[in-house]
Protein backbone atom coordinates (compact mmCIF):
# COMPACT_ATOMS: atom_id res chain seq x y z
CA UNK A 1 0.00 0.00 0.00
CA UNK A 2 1.42 3.37 -0.96
CA UNK A 3 2.07 5.95 1.73
CA UNK A 4 -0.47 8.36 0.27
CA UNK A 5 -3.26 5.78 0.16
CA UNK A 6 -2.49 4.69 3.69
CA UNK A 7 -2.74 8.29 4.86
CA UNK A 8 -6.10 8.71 3.16
CA UNK A 9 -7.44 5.53 4.70
CA UNK A 10 -6.31 6.65 8.14
CA UNK A 11 -7.98 10.04 7.74
CA UNK A 12 -11.15 8.28 6.57
CA UNK A 13 -11.12 6.06 9.64
CA UNK A 14 -10.63 9.01 11.98
CA UNK A 15 -13.70 10.65 10.46
CA UNK A 16 -15.72 7.46 10.86
CA UNK A 17 -14.71 7.19 14.51
CA UNK A 18 -15.48 10.84 15.17
CA UNK A 19 -18.98 10.44 13.78
CA UNK A 20 -19.66 7.21 15.65
CA UNK A 21 -18.30 8.41 18.97
CA UNK A 22 -20.46 11.51 18.67
CA UNK A 23 -23.51 9.48 17.71
CA UNK A 24 -22.95 7.07 20.61
CA UNK A 25 -22.62 9.94 23.08
CA UNK A 26 -25.83 11.54 21.82
CA UNK A 27 -27.66 8.21 22.06
CA UNK A 28 -26.49 7.53 25.59
CA UNK A 29 -26.67 11.04 27.05
CA UNK A 30 -30.44 11.10 27.77
CA UNK A 31 -30.30 7.61 29.27
CA UNK A 32 -27.24 8.51 31.33
CA UNK A 33 -29.02 11.58 32.68
CA UNK A 34 -32.06 9.46 33.49
CA UNK A 35 -29.83 7.12 35.45
CA UNK A 36 -28.21 10.05 37.29
CA UNK A 37 -31.56 11.50 38.29
CA UNK A 38 -32.72 8.11 39.52
CA UNK A 39 -29.79 7.85 41.98
CA UNK A 40 -30.05 11.38 43.38
CA UNK A 41 -31.99 12.63 46.37
CA UNK A 42 -34.39 15.56 46.16
CA UNK A 43 -31.79 17.89 47.63
CA UNK A 44 -29.13 16.84 45.14
CA UNK A 45 -31.53 17.56 42.28
CA UNK A 46 -31.76 21.26 43.10
CA UNK A 47 -29.48 23.81 41.50
CA UNK A 48 -26.89 23.17 38.80
CA UNK A 49 -27.65 19.99 36.81
CA UNK A 50 -24.29 18.26 37.18
CA UNK A 51 -23.38 15.38 34.89
CA UNK A 52 -21.08 13.78 37.47
CA UNK A 53 -21.99 10.91 39.78
CA UNK A 54 -22.20 12.16 43.36
CA UNK A 55 -22.76 9.00 45.32
CA UNK A 56 -25.58 6.49 44.95
CA UNK A 57 -28.90 7.17 46.62
CA UNK A 58 -31.25 4.20 46.40
CA UNK A 59 -34.41 5.55 48.04
CA UNK A 60 -36.07 6.27 44.69
CA UNK A 61 -35.89 2.59 43.81
CA UNK A 62 -36.75 1.51 47.34
CA UNK A 63 -39.91 3.59 47.32
CA UNK A 64 -40.85 2.10 43.95
CA UNK A 65 -40.47 -1.49 45.11
CA UNK A 66 -41.95 -0.64 48.50
CA UNK A 67 -45.17 0.69 47.00
CA UNK A 68 -47.78 -2.07 46.67
CA UNK A 69 -49.46 -0.25 43.77
CA UNK A 70 -46.25 -0.16 41.76
CA UNK A 71 -45.47 -3.76 42.58
CA UNK A 72 -48.87 -4.64 41.16
CA UNK A 73 -48.21 -2.58 38.00
CA UNK A 74 -44.92 -4.38 37.55
CA UNK A 75 -46.50 -7.79 38.08
CA UNK A 76 -49.31 -6.92 35.62
CA UNK A 77 -46.77 -5.91 32.99
CA UNK A 78 -44.89 -9.17 33.43
CA UNK A 79 -48.03 -11.32 33.30
CA UNK A 80 -49.55 -9.51 30.32
CA UNK A 81 -46.31 -9.52 28.31
CA UNK A 82 -45.52 -13.16 29.00
CA UNK A 83 -49.04 -14.46 28.32
CA UNK A 84 -49.25 -12.42 25.15
CA UNK A 85 -45.90 -13.71 23.90
CA UNK A 86 -47.00 -17.32 24.47
CA UNK A 87 -50.41 -16.78 22.87
CA UNK A 88 -48.86 -15.08 19.84
CA UNK A 89 -46.26 -17.83 19.41
CA UNK A 90 -48.89 -20.59 19.45
CA UNK A 91 -51.31 -18.84 17.09
CA UNK A 92 -48.52 -17.75 14.75
CA UNK A 93 -47.01 -21.24 14.38
CA UNK A 94 -50.40 -22.73 13.48
CA UNK A 95 -51.37 -19.92 11.12
CA UNK A 96 -48.01 -19.73 9.40
CA UNK A 97 -47.89 -23.48 8.90
CA UNK A 98 -51.28 -23.24 7.20
CA UNK A 99 -50.21 -20.30 5.05
CA UNK A 100 -46.95 -22.01 4.17
CA UNK A 101 -48.19 -25.50 3.24
CA UNK A 102 -51.64 -24.89 1.82
CA UNK A 103 -52.71 -22.73 -1.09
CA UNK A 104 -55.73 -21.20 0.57
CA UNK A 105 -58.13 -18.88 -1.11
CA UNK A 106 -57.53 -15.22 -0.31
CA UNK A 107 -54.09 -15.80 1.18
CA UNK A 108 -52.73 -12.49 -0.09
CA UNK A 109 -55.71 -10.68 1.39
CA UNK A 110 -55.12 -12.28 4.76
CA UNK A 111 -51.53 -11.06 4.64
CA UNK A 112 -52.62 -7.55 3.72
CA UNK A 113 -55.25 -7.52 6.41
CA UNK A 114 -52.71 -8.46 9.08
CA UNK A 115 -50.41 -5.59 8.10
CA UNK A 116 -53.30 -3.14 8.19
CA UNK A 117 -53.91 -4.23 11.75
CA UNK A 118 -50.29 -3.64 12.67
CA UNK A 119 -50.19 -0.29 10.90
CA UNK A 120 -53.44 1.11 12.26
CA UNK A 121 -53.00 4.04 14.63
CA UNK A 122 -53.76 2.74 18.14
CA UNK A 123 -55.57 6.00 18.79
CA UNK A 124 -58.21 5.00 16.24
CA UNK A 125 -58.73 1.72 18.09
CA UNK A 126 -59.15 3.35 21.49
CA UNK A 127 -62.76 4.35 21.33
CA UNK A 128 -64.12 1.20 19.62
CA UNK A 129 -62.15 -1.02 21.99
CA UNK A 130 -63.27 0.98 25.00
CA UNK A 131 -66.88 0.68 23.93
CA UNK A 132 -66.51 -3.03 23.14
CA UNK A 133 -64.82 -3.69 26.46
CA UNK A 134 -67.38 -1.89 28.56
CA UNK A 135 -70.59 -2.50 26.62
CA UNK A 136 -70.33 -5.52 24.33
CA UNK A 137 -68.04 -8.11 25.93
CA UNK A 138 -70.16 -8.10 28.99
CA UNK A 139 -71.42 -11.16 30.77
CA UNK A 140 -73.54 -10.37 33.79
CA UNK A 141 -71.51 -8.12 36.05
CA UNK A 142 -68.21 -9.04 34.40
CA UNK A 143 -66.67 -7.21 31.45
CA UNK A 144 -63.27 -7.07 29.78
CA UNK A 145 -62.53 -3.55 30.96
CA UNK A 146 -59.64 -3.35 33.43
CA UNK A 147 -58.72 -7.02 33.04
CA UNK A 148 -55.34 -8.42 32.09
CA UNK A 149 -57.13 -10.81 29.73
CA UNK A 150 -58.36 -7.83 27.70
CA UNK A 151 -54.85 -6.48 27.21
CA UNK A 152 -53.41 -9.93 26.43
CA UNK A 153 -56.05 -10.47 23.73
CA UNK A 154 -55.84 -7.06 22.15
CA UNK A 155 -52.06 -6.82 21.96
CA UNK A 156 -52.22 -9.77 19.55
CA UNK A 157 -53.64 -7.35 16.96
CA UNK A 158 -50.23 -5.70 16.78
CA UNK A 159 -47.98 -8.68 17.55
CA UNK A 160 -49.46 -11.52 15.53
CA UNK A 161 -48.83 -9.94 12.09
CA UNK A 162 -45.13 -9.58 12.77
CA UNK A 163 -44.81 -13.10 14.15
CA UNK A 164 -46.53 -14.50 11.04
CA UNK A 165 -44.30 -12.48 8.72
CA UNK A 166 -41.16 -13.59 10.49
CA UNK A 167 -42.12 -17.27 10.68
CA UNK A 168 -43.36 -17.45 7.09
CA UNK A 169 -39.85 -17.33 5.64
CA UNK A 170 -38.54 -19.82 8.18
CA UNK A 171 -41.30 -22.41 7.81
CA UNK A 172 -41.23 -22.03 4.01
CA UNK A 173 -37.59 -23.08 4.10
CA UNK A 174 -38.30 -26.33 6.00
CA UNK A 175 -38.60 -28.99 3.25
CA UNK A 176 -42.10 -30.37 2.89
CA UNK A 177 -40.56 -33.85 2.40
CA UNK A 178 -39.92 -33.95 6.14
CA UNK A 179 -43.64 -33.50 6.84
CA UNK A 180 -44.52 -36.12 4.25
CA UNK A 181 -42.04 -38.66 5.57
CA UNK A 182 -43.48 -38.27 9.06
CA UNK A 183 -46.98 -38.61 7.69
CA UNK A 184 -46.08 -41.77 5.84
CA UNK A 185 -45.18 -43.11 9.26
CA UNK A 186 -48.68 -42.26 10.41
CA UNK A 187 -48.11 -38.88 12.12
CA UNK A 188 -50.99 -36.39 12.22
CA UNK A 189 -50.80 -32.59 11.90
CA UNK A 190 -50.29 -32.11 15.60
CA UNK A 191 -47.34 -34.47 15.69
CA UNK A 192 -45.76 -32.92 12.60
CA UNK A 193 -46.09 -29.45 14.13
CA UNK A 194 -44.71 -30.40 17.53
CA UNK A 195 -41.99 -32.81 16.43
CA UNK A 196 -40.75 -31.23 13.19
CA UNK A 197 -41.85 -27.64 12.66
CA UNK A 198 -41.51 -26.26 16.19
CA UNK A 199 -37.99 -27.63 16.84
CA UNK A 200 -36.71 -26.49 13.44
CA UNK A 201 -38.31 -23.04 13.66
CA UNK A 202 -37.45 -22.61 17.35
CA UNK A 203 -35.05 -19.65 16.93
CA UNK A 204 -37.63 -17.76 14.86
CA UNK A 205 -40.37 -18.56 17.35
CA UNK A 206 -38.16 -17.28 20.17
CA UNK A 207 -37.40 -14.04 18.33
CA UNK A 208 -41.05 -13.36 17.58
CA UNK A 209 -41.98 -14.16 21.18
CA UNK A 210 -39.34 -11.72 22.46
CA UNK A 211 -40.60 -8.98 20.16
CA UNK A 212 -44.18 -9.60 21.28
CA UNK A 213 -43.03 -9.49 24.86
CA UNK A 214 -41.19 -6.19 24.44
CA UNK A 215 -44.04 -4.64 22.48
CA UNK A 216 -46.59 -5.60 25.13
CA UNK A 217 -44.29 -4.30 27.86
CA UNK A 218 -43.80 -0.99 26.01
CA UNK A 219 -47.43 -0.37 25.06
CA UNK A 220 -49.07 2.60 26.73
CA UNK A 221 -52.12 4.04 24.99
CA UNK A 222 -54.40 0.98 25.10
CA UNK A 223 -53.31 0.11 28.61
CA UNK A 224 -54.07 3.64 29.77
CA UNK A 225 -57.54 3.61 28.21
CA UNK A 226 -58.65 0.04 28.83
CA UNK A 227 -57.60 -0.30 32.45
CA UNK A 228 -58.28 1.75 35.54
CA UNK A 229 -57.03 0.09 38.72
CA UNK A 230 -56.51 -3.68 38.70
CA UNK A 231 -54.81 -4.26 35.36
CA UNK A 232 -52.67 -1.11 35.11
CA UNK A 233 -49.19 -1.69 33.71
CA UNK A 234 -45.82 -0.12 34.38
CA UNK A 235 -46.01 2.32 31.45
CA UNK A 236 -49.30 3.73 32.70
CA UNK A 237 -47.75 3.99 36.14
CA UNK A 238 -44.91 6.00 34.65
CA UNK A 239 -47.29 8.37 32.90
CA UNK A 240 -49.19 8.88 36.16
CA UNK A 241 -46.02 10.37 37.60
CA UNK A 242 -46.14 13.27 35.21
CA UNK A 243 -49.81 14.04 35.58
CA UNK A 244 -50.42 13.18 39.21
CA UNK A 245 -47.36 13.81 41.33
CA UNK A 246 -45.87 16.58 39.24
CA UNK A 247 -42.25 17.04 40.16
CA UNK A 248 -41.02 13.94 41.93
CA UNK A 249 -38.22 13.62 39.36
CA UNK A 250 -36.11 11.08 41.23
CA UNK A 251 -38.90 8.53 41.52
CA UNK A 252 -40.07 9.19 37.98
CA UNK A 253 -36.54 8.44 36.77
CA UNK A 254 -36.41 5.24 38.83
CA UNK A 255 -39.69 4.03 37.32
CA UNK A 256 -38.38 4.92 33.84
CA UNK A 257 -35.23 2.92 34.49
CA UNK A 258 -37.33 -0.11 35.46
CA UNK A 259 -39.50 0.41 32.36
CA UNK A 260 -36.54 0.44 29.99
CA UNK A 261 -34.63 -2.38 31.64
CA UNK A 262 -36.06 -5.16 29.41
CA UNK A 263 -35.00 -3.17 26.36
CA UNK A 264 -31.42 -3.15 27.62
CA UNK A 265 -31.53 -6.86 28.45
CA UNK A 266 -33.10 -8.04 25.21
CA UNK A 267 -31.14 -5.71 22.96
CA UNK A 268 -28.11 -7.99 22.78
CA UNK A 269 -30.31 -11.04 22.12
CA UNK A 270 -32.41 -9.72 19.27
CA UNK A 271 -30.02 -7.08 17.90
CA UNK A 272 -29.57 -8.96 14.65
CA UNK A 273 -33.33 -9.21 14.08
CA UNK A 274 -34.37 -5.70 15.01
CA UNK A 275 -34.58 -4.57 11.40
CA UNK A 276 -36.72 -7.53 10.44
CA UNK A 277 -38.79 -7.03 13.57
CA UNK A 278 -39.58 -3.41 12.89
CA UNK A 279 -40.24 -3.77 9.16
CA UNK A 280 -42.24 -7.04 9.56
CA UNK A 281 -39.70 -8.92 7.58
CA UNK A 282 -39.85 -6.56 4.60
CA UNK A 283 -36.15 -5.87 5.06
CA UNK A 284 -33.87 -8.65 6.20
CA UNK A 285 -30.30 -8.44 7.34
Amino acid sequence: MSKERYGRKLRGNILVYLVWVLSTLLTLLPIYWLFLVSIRSRVQLFGTPSLMIHGVYTDNYASFFGDATFRRYLLNSIIVSTSNAILVAILAVMATYALSRWRLQGEQNIFFWTITNRMAPPAAFLLPLFLLFTRVFKFGGWDLFDTRLGLILFYTVFNLPFAIWLLKGIIDSIPIELDEAAMADGADVKTVLLRIIVPLAAPGIAISAIFSWVFSWNEYLLAATLTSVNARTITTGLAEFVTVTGTNWGEMAAVSMVALLPALIFLALVQRYIVMGLTFGAVKE
Binding site: I31, W33, T48, L91, F112, M119, P121, A123, V242, A282
Partner: protein
Protein backbone atom coordinates in the same frame (compact mmCIF):
# COMPACT_ATOMS: atom_id res chain seq x y z
CA UNK B 1 -53.94 -34.50 5.70
CA UNK B 2 -53.43 -31.86 3.01
CA UNK B 3 -57.16 -31.14 2.74
CA UNK B 4 -58.17 -27.49 2.69
CA UNK B 5 -60.18 -28.17 5.81
CA UNK B 6 -57.10 -28.90 7.88
CA UNK B 7 -55.47 -25.73 6.55
CA UNK B 8 -58.39 -23.55 7.52
CA UNK B 9 -58.62 -25.28 10.89
CA UNK B 10 -55.03 -24.26 11.64
CA UNK B 11 -55.70 -20.73 10.47
CA UNK B 12 -59.03 -20.43 12.28
CA UNK B 13 -57.81 -19.42 15.76
CA UNK B 14 -55.75 -16.58 14.29
CA UNK B 15 -58.61 -15.41 12.11
CA UNK B 16 -61.03 -15.53 15.03
CA UNK B 17 -58.71 -13.60 17.35
CA UNK B 18 -57.96 -11.00 14.69
CA UNK B 19 -61.65 -10.74 13.81
CA UNK B 20 -62.54 -10.04 17.41
CA UNK B 21 -59.64 -7.70 18.07
CA UNK B 22 -59.17 -6.04 14.70
CA UNK B 23 -62.38 -6.34 12.71
CA UNK B 24 -65.14 -6.12 15.33
CA UNK B 25 -63.95 -2.73 16.63
CA UNK B 26 -63.76 -1.50 13.06
CA UNK B 27 -67.37 -2.33 12.25
CA UNK B 28 -68.59 -1.18 15.60
CA UNK B 29 -66.95 2.21 15.24
CA UNK B 30 -68.28 2.50 11.68
CA UNK B 31 -71.77 1.92 13.04
CA UNK B 32 -71.44 4.36 15.93
CA UNK B 33 -70.01 7.05 13.64
CA UNK B 34 -73.47 7.51 12.07
CA UNK B 35 -75.10 8.27 15.40
CA UNK B 36 -75.20 10.97 18.00
CA UNK B 37 -74.03 9.44 21.20
CA UNK B 38 -73.01 11.55 24.11
CA UNK B 39 -73.06 9.99 27.54
CA UNK B 40 -73.54 13.31 29.32
CA UNK B 41 -76.19 14.77 27.02
CA UNK B 42 -79.81 15.06 28.13
CA UNK B 43 -80.91 12.52 25.56
CA UNK B 44 -79.92 8.98 26.54
CA UNK B 45 -78.59 6.40 24.09
CA UNK B 46 -77.97 6.67 20.38
CA UNK B 47 -79.88 8.72 17.87
CA UNK B 48 -79.31 8.45 14.15
CA UNK B 49 -77.33 11.34 12.70
CA UNK B 50 -76.49 10.23 9.17
CA UNK B 51 -73.34 11.90 7.93
CA UNK B 52 -73.58 14.76 10.42
CA UNK B 53 -70.49 13.66 12.39
CA UNK B 54 -68.41 13.56 9.22
CA UNK B 55 -69.69 16.96 8.12
CA UNK B 56 -68.71 18.44 11.49
CA UNK B 57 -65.28 16.83 11.20
CA UNK B 58 -64.45 18.40 7.86
CA UNK B 59 -65.11 21.87 9.31
CA UNK B 60 -63.52 21.23 12.71
CA UNK B 61 -60.64 23.73 12.97
CA UNK B 62 -58.98 22.00 15.92
CA UNK B 63 -59.00 18.63 14.16
CA UNK B 64 -57.74 20.06 10.88
CA UNK B 65 -54.94 21.95 12.52
CA UNK B 66 -53.89 18.87 14.49
CA UNK B 67 -53.82 16.96 11.19
CA UNK B 68 -51.71 19.69 9.63
CA UNK B 69 -49.09 19.83 12.39
CA UNK B 70 -48.93 16.03 12.37
CA UNK B 71 -48.09 16.13 8.66
CA UNK B 72 -45.52 18.86 9.28
CA UNK B 73 -44.00 16.85 12.12
CA UNK B 74 -43.90 13.69 10.02
CA UNK B 75 -42.28 15.51 7.11
CA UNK B 76 -39.41 17.02 9.11
CA UNK B 77 -38.81 14.03 11.34
CA UNK B 78 -38.78 11.45 8.54
CA UNK B 79 -36.73 13.65 6.21
CA UNK B 80 -34.04 14.16 8.86
CA UNK B 81 -34.06 10.47 9.75
CA UNK B 82 -33.63 9.38 6.13
CA UNK B 83 -30.73 11.78 5.49
CA UNK B 84 -28.96 11.05 8.79
CA UNK B 85 -29.66 7.34 8.61
CA UNK B 86 -28.31 7.09 5.09
CA UNK B 87 -25.07 8.86 6.03
CA UNK B 88 -24.60 6.65 9.09
CA UNK B 89 -25.37 3.52 7.07
CA UNK B 90 -22.71 4.50 4.54
CA UNK B 91 -20.21 4.77 7.38
CA UNK B 92 -21.10 1.25 8.53
CA UNK B 93 -20.56 -0.44 5.17
CA UNK B 94 -16.82 -0.61 5.73
CA UNK B 95 -15.23 -2.64 8.48
CA UNK B 96 -13.47 -1.02 11.38
CA UNK B 97 -12.64 -2.17 14.90
CA UNK B 98 -15.51 -1.56 17.32
CA UNK B 99 -18.17 -1.50 14.62
CA UNK B 100 -20.34 -4.10 16.38
CA UNK B 101 -20.25 -2.07 19.58
CA UNK B 102 -21.30 1.19 17.88
CA UNK B 103 -24.04 -0.62 16.02
CA UNK B 104 -25.49 -2.19 19.16
CA UNK B 105 -25.55 1.10 21.06
CA UNK B 106 -27.06 2.78 18.03
CA UNK B 107 -29.94 0.28 18.04
CA UNK B 108 -30.69 0.83 21.73
CA UNK B 109 -33.42 3.51 21.38
CA UNK B 110 -35.44 1.20 19.12
CA UNK B 111 -36.25 -1.15 21.97
CA UNK B 112 -37.05 1.48 24.62
CA UNK B 113 -40.70 2.00 25.52
CA UNK B 114 -41.94 5.19 23.82
CA UNK B 115 -43.37 6.34 27.11
CA UNK B 116 -39.92 5.97 28.72
CA UNK B 117 -38.38 7.88 25.80
CA UNK B 118 -40.82 10.69 26.55
CA UNK B 119 -40.01 10.58 30.27
CA UNK B 120 -36.28 10.62 29.54
CA UNK B 121 -36.56 13.60 27.23
CA UNK B 122 -38.79 15.39 29.68
CA UNK B 123 -36.11 15.06 32.35
CA UNK B 124 -33.57 16.49 29.89
CA UNK B 125 -35.66 19.35 28.55
CA UNK B 126 -38.02 20.50 31.28
CA UNK B 127 -37.41 24.15 32.19
CA UNK B 128 -36.03 24.68 35.67
CA UNK B 129 -34.75 21.14 35.97
CA UNK B 130 -33.21 19.65 32.82
CA UNK B 131 -29.58 20.22 31.85
CA UNK B 132 -30.39 21.32 28.30
CA UNK B 133 -32.29 24.54 29.13
CA UNK B 134 -29.81 25.24 31.94
CA UNK B 135 -26.65 25.00 29.86
CA UNK B 136 -28.18 26.69 26.82
CA UNK B 137 -28.89 29.63 29.13
CA UNK B 138 -25.52 29.52 30.90
CA UNK B 139 -23.25 29.07 27.90
CA UNK B 140 -25.11 30.67 25.03
CA UNK B 141 -27.68 32.89 26.72
CA UNK B 142 -30.46 31.16 24.80
CA UNK B 143 -33.85 31.05 26.49
CA UNK B 144 -35.13 27.54 25.87
CA UNK B 145 -38.51 26.73 27.31
CA UNK B 146 -40.67 24.05 25.69
CA UNK B 147 -43.50 24.88 28.06
CA UNK B 148 -43.71 28.36 26.63
CA UNK B 149 -42.51 28.58 23.02
CA UNK B 150 -44.50 26.60 20.45
CA UNK B 151 -41.67 26.52 17.91
CA UNK B 152 -39.18 25.12 20.39
CA UNK B 153 -41.67 22.51 21.58
CA UNK B 154 -42.37 21.45 17.99
CA UNK B 155 -38.70 21.11 17.05
CA UNK B 156 -37.93 19.29 20.29
CA UNK B 157 -40.53 16.63 19.43
CA UNK B 158 -38.95 16.33 15.97
CA UNK B 159 -35.51 15.96 17.56
CA UNK B 160 -36.82 13.34 19.98
CA UNK B 161 -38.28 11.34 17.10
CA UNK B 162 -34.96 11.59 15.25
CA UNK B 163 -33.17 10.29 18.35
CA UNK B 164 -35.65 7.45 18.68
CA UNK B 165 -36.01 6.28 15.08
CA UNK B 166 -32.92 7.22 13.04
CA UNK B 167 -31.35 3.87 14.03
CA UNK B 168 -34.14 2.02 12.24
CA UNK B 169 -33.36 3.88 9.03
CA UNK B 170 -29.62 3.31 9.48
CA UNK B 171 -30.06 -0.43 9.97
CA UNK B 172 -32.55 -1.00 7.14
CA UNK B 173 -30.50 1.03 4.68
CA UNK B 174 -27.35 -0.75 5.84
CA UNK B 175 -29.05 -4.09 5.17
CA UNK B 176 -29.88 -2.80 1.72
CA UNK B 177 -26.44 -1.37 1.04
CA UNK B 178 -24.44 -4.46 1.93
CA UNK B 179 -26.67 -6.67 -0.19
CA UNK B 180 -25.98 -4.65 -3.36
CA UNK B 181 -23.99 -6.51 -6.04
CA UNK B 182 -20.32 -5.47 -6.27
CA UNK B 183 -19.66 -5.69 -9.99
CA UNK B 184 -21.38 -2.45 -11.09
CA UNK B 185 -19.36 -0.50 -8.55
CA UNK B 186 -16.12 -2.11 -9.65
CA UNK B 187 -16.72 -1.37 -13.30
CA UNK B 188 -17.76 2.19 -12.43
CA UNK B 189 -14.45 2.61 -10.67
CA UNK B 190 -12.60 1.24 -13.67
CA UNK B 191 -14.49 3.68 -15.91
CA UNK B 192 -13.39 6.52 -13.63
CA UNK B 193 -16.75 7.55 -12.19
CA UNK B 194 -16.49 9.95 -9.24
CA UNK B 195 -18.21 9.43 -5.91
CA UNK B 196 -21.15 11.68 -6.77
CA UNK B 197 -21.80 9.92 -10.08
CA UNK B 198 -21.56 6.50 -8.43
CA UNK B 199 -24.07 7.62 -5.82
CA UNK B 200 -26.46 9.21 -8.32
CA UNK B 201 -26.43 6.47 -10.99
CA UNK B 202 -25.70 3.31 -9.00
CA UNK B 203 -26.36 3.48 -5.26
CA UNK B 204 -29.52 5.56 -5.36
CA UNK B 205 -31.47 3.56 -7.98
CA UNK B 206 -30.44 0.24 -6.45
CA UNK B 207 -31.29 1.25 -2.90
CA UNK B 208 -34.68 2.72 -3.88
CA UNK B 209 -36.84 -0.33 -3.00
CA UNK B 210 -35.43 -0.60 0.52
CA UNK B 211 -35.58 3.19 0.85
CA UNK B 212 -39.29 3.16 -0.12
CA UNK B 213 -40.11 0.47 2.41
CA UNK B 214 -38.25 2.33 5.15
CA UNK B 215 -39.89 5.59 4.17
CA UNK B 216 -43.39 4.15 4.33
CA UNK B 217 -42.85 2.43 7.64
CA UNK B 218 -41.41 5.59 9.15
CA UNK B 219 -44.24 7.74 7.76
CA UNK B 220 -46.92 5.42 9.12
CA UNK B 221 -45.28 5.31 12.53
CA UNK B 222 -44.66 9.05 12.71
CA UNK B 223 -48.26 9.82 11.75
CA UNK B 224 -49.60 7.92 14.74
CA UNK B 225 -47.18 9.23 17.37
CA UNK B 226 -48.73 9.73 20.82
CA UNK B 227 -46.83 8.37 23.83
CA UNK B 228 -43.51 10.23 23.61
CA UNK B 229 -45.03 13.59 22.79
CA UNK B 230 -47.70 13.19 25.44
CA UNK B 231 -45.01 12.62 28.07
CA UNK B 232 -42.75 15.42 26.84
CA UNK B 233 -45.13 18.29 26.18
CA UNK B 234 -48.63 17.01 26.91
CA UNK B 235 -49.56 18.34 23.47
CA UNK B 236 -48.69 21.91 24.45
CA UNK B 237 -47.93 24.69 24.75
CA UNK B 238 -51.46 25.50 23.63
CA UNK B 239 -52.04 22.98 20.86
CA UNK B 240 -48.58 23.32 19.30
CA UNK B 241 -47.71 19.63 19.58
CA UNK B 242 -51.21 18.21 19.82
CA UNK B 243 -50.79 15.65 17.07
CA UNK B 244 -53.82 13.83 15.69
CA UNK B 245 -53.46 10.76 17.93
CA UNK B 246 -53.26 12.94 21.03
CA UNK B 247 -56.10 15.13 19.80
CA UNK B 248 -58.37 12.15 19.24
CA UNK B 249 -57.48 10.63 22.60
CA UNK B 250 -57.89 13.85 24.60
CA UNK B 251 -60.95 15.05 22.72
CA UNK B 252 -63.14 11.97 22.78
CA UNK B 253 -62.70 10.52 26.25
CA UNK B 254 -63.05 13.57 28.49
CA UNK B 255 -66.00 14.86 26.42
CA UNK B 256 -67.57 11.39 25.90
CA UNK B 257 -68.77 12.50 22.49
CA UNK B 258 -68.64 8.95 21.15
CA UNK B 259 -70.40 9.38 17.81
CA UNK B 260 -68.12 12.21 16.79
CA UNK B 261 -65.06 10.40 18.11
CA UNK B 262 -66.00 7.36 16.06
CA UNK B 263 -66.15 9.45 12.90
CA UNK B 264 -62.68 10.80 13.72
CA UNK B 265 -61.36 7.28 14.29
CA UNK B 266 -62.85 6.15 10.97
CA UNK B 267 -61.18 8.95 9.07
CA UNK B 268 -57.81 8.12 10.63
CA UNK B 269 -58.29 4.44 9.87
CA UNK B 270 -59.22 5.27 6.30
CA UNK B 271 -55.98 7.21 5.78
CA UNK B 272 -54.06 4.36 7.35
CA UNK B 273 -55.61 1.70 5.15
CA UNK B 274 -54.86 3.69 2.01
CA UNK B 275 -51.27 4.24 3.13
CA UNK B 276 -50.67 0.63 4.16
CA UNK B 277 -52.08 -0.53 0.86
CA UNK B 278 -49.48 1.65 -0.88
CA UNK B 279 -46.82 0.22 1.41
CA UNK B 280 -47.92 -3.32 0.65
CA UNK B 281 -47.83 -2.68 -3.08
CA UNK B 282 -44.40 -1.08 -2.75
CA UNK B 283 -43.04 -4.05 -0.80
CA UNK B 284 -44.51 -6.83 -2.91
CA UNK B 285 -44.09 -5.34 -6.39
CA UNK B 286 -40.64 -3.79 -6.07
CA UNK B 287 -39.24 -6.98 -4.58
CA UNK B 288 -37.48 -5.20 -1.76
CA UNK B 289 -37.03 -8.44 0.16
CA UNK B 290 -33.32 -8.37 0.75
CA UNK B 291 -31.80 -11.70 1.61
Amino acid sequence: MWSARTGWALLAPTLIVLAVTGLAPFFYVLYVSFFNWNVFSAQAGLSFAGLENYRRLVFDQAFLSSLWITIKFTFWAVLSEIVLGFLLAQLLTRDFPGKAFFRTIHALPLMVAPIAVGATWRLMMIPGFGPVPYYLQQWFGIEYNIGRYSGQAFWTTVLMDVWHWTPLVTLTLLAGLISLPREPFESAQVDGANALQTFRYLTLPMITPVMLTTLFIRIMDALRIVDEVWMLTGGGPGAATRYTGIHLWREVFPKTDYGYGSAMSMLLLYFTIVLSWLLFVAITSRGSRVT
